[in-house]
């Protein structure tokens, strides 16, 4: 495959197609609409299912239905639409069917605006619907990584029969970058033995999240939690730069991680021992690696495009060993590298003075 210039949203859509998605259901919302538009053109060309639903509520429940047949199914939306889909997320998690959801986050709360934001970290990592579960959440920082994680998202969804988010913001969704798409994968066959395909020559299959008997529902929850514990142990993903000798590590994901990279490089040029840690899986949060880093650094500086959400996870991973400070912008404001650099200088100076 050749490297070509691609818009993030289109790259996400085409990557899903290459990964063998059989059904896309969605509703237009800025800043992810190009993803839906690409699907509207490509899916019928390939003889696959595309429906522009009447709402995000309907879209996620169509995904739920398609996923019940064992097909690779997905939707995409942005923050207010993701709020509407929470019902479906919960049923999908409860009945353990695989599906993939793309969330191109925008500024909130409420209707907010259409500017890039990371203000739905809590929503996707903590409370993607009622009940006791986490979704797997992957956060790319470039168009190429968006493509790679999109393919991986479908594999993870299938492997764990679970809900997987790919979350980015309008900046990654809208920007054009050179990237390379994977080869087209064949549509997955046969369907899983759990799938709804008609009870021909076998006992009937039922897919439900309903269990009125409390001991049985507890057992179901225990099974779900065991699965999530396994995911937590095995699926933590992160990348880092210049952390080996770092006294201060900046922690940021997606767009804020990418901007922080520029600021960290600037700080290095100025002789400061600063590194970057970029979580790729937001759930499971890469706590193992971050905890190890907490043993060797003086402080963490968390940078997000929100009021401080991943901050909680970094604090938990740091376990009170070192100070964890925060720099963020909200409302769709994207921090400039200079702002982050200034904050690095402030925090770094605190370290050197306190060390004296």
């Amino acid at each position: 495959m050749a490297v070509e210039l691609m818009k993030g949203n289109v790259a996400l859509a085409e990557a899903a197609i290459r990964a063998g998605v059989e059904a896309y259901f969605g509703y237009p919302i800025t800043p992810q609409t190009e993803l839906l538009e690409h699907m509207a053109k490509r899916m019928p060309e390939l003889g696959r299912a595309f429906v522009q639903a009447e709402s995000e509520v309907a879209a996620i429940n169509m995904v739920y239905g398609a996923a019940c047949t064992g097909a690779r199914a997905m939707t995409s939306s942005s923050s207010p639409g993701i709020s509407l889909m929470q019902e479906g997320f919960s049923y999908i998690a409860g009945s353990e069917v695989p599906c993939v959801v793309v969330d191109i986050m925008r500024g909130g709360p409420g209707l907010g605006n259409i500017q890039p934001s990371q203000s739905d970290y809590f929503q996707v990592t903590r409370s993607a619907g009622h009940g006791d579960y986490h979704a797997i959440v992957l956060a790319p920082a470039s168009v190429q990584e968006a493509i790679d994680l999109m393919v991986e998202a479908f594999d993870l969804a299938d492997e764990y029969r679970h809900l997987v988010f790919v979350v980015a913001d309008g900046l990654i969704g809208q920007m054009m970058e050179p990237a390379e798409l994977p080869a087209m994968k064949p549509i997955r066959r046969p369907r899983g033995d759990w799938a709804l395909t008609g009870a021909d020559g076998r006992e009937k299959n039922i897919i439900t999240s309903l269990e009125l008997n409390a001991p049985d529902l507890e057992e179901l929850n225990n099974r779900l939690q065991a699965k999530l514990a396994h995911i937590r142990e095995h699926e933590q993903r992160s990348t880092e730069m210049l952390t080996g000798d770092a006294r201060l590590i900046v922690v940021g994901y997606g767009t804020s991680g990418r901007i922080a990279e520029t600021a960290v490089k600037q700080a290095r040029r100025e002789g400061m021992k600063v590194g970057l840690f970029r979580p790729i899986s937001l759930w499971p949060f890469p706590e193992k690696r971050l905890s190890a880093l907490a043993d060797q650094v003086g402080a963490f500086l968390v940078v997000e495009m929100n009021a401080g959400q991943m901050l909680d996870d970094v604090r938990l991973a740091a376990g009170g060993q070192v100070p964890v400070t925060f720099y963020g912008r909200t409302g769709g404001m994207v921090p400039m590298p200079e702002e982050i650099y200034d904050e690095i200088v402030t925090q770094y100076n605190k370290l050197t003075t306190s060390a004296v």
Partner: protein, 262 residues
Amino acid sequence: MATTAMVEEKVVYQRPESLESIPTHYCPGCTHGVAHRLVAEVLDELGVRERTIGVSPVGCSVFAYKYFNTDGAEAAHGRAPAMATGIKRIMPDRVVFTYQGDGDLAAIGIAEIVHAATRGENFTTIFINNAIYGMTGGQMAPTTLPGQRTTSSPVGRDVELTGFPIRMAELLSGAPGAAYVVRRSLHNVKEINRAKRAIKTAFEVQLAGLGFSMVELLSACPTGWKVTPPEAMDWIEQQMVPYYPLGDYKIADGVEQLAKRR
């Protein structure tokens, strides 16, 4: 040889294969059981049990998937038509149906049913209209009749405050993608037999790929209405049928030919 007539005993009615042999949780005299049986008989007669996928609603029939001997899914409240859309789009050669009550279909799920019908989704909906929310204990439904007492309209439904009950068959008959939309009742044997013929036609419409099909069934809720089962049947006939006239509301081109072929 003896001249007495030789006779043998034949089974003329027994439980259909598409219905599990387990007792239902429905109240005495609730006609959900009749509707279940009719759907199961039709699936048997059409020979499609092994390739049928049912979608259950939230409401009294939340456990319909336990009773039908077919593959089944349990939808969120009102979302069965969306789920059925997802299933049918992936597996167009399977028989897909939703089974929904009036709260599920006519209140919380009205967007999903209207748009499924509008798109002409090729599945069948069995719509149980019993003018009340049964599962939660008898609250006012969008189909509750004017003046009808429920636990949330304790002095009777006041249309000045709550509007008039919604007529779904009439509403959905206006959807371009709807091929077959009819209303039947389950209050006596004659009407039950007519309801079964309609359900069969609805599934045949789907098998012929003609588009969305729905059979609305006026159904009894003796517990919610606080009457005996026989009184409930009279109540359907005397109170519900005048507001919800039985009949065919949408018969698209091609449907008549199906009936003739049978």
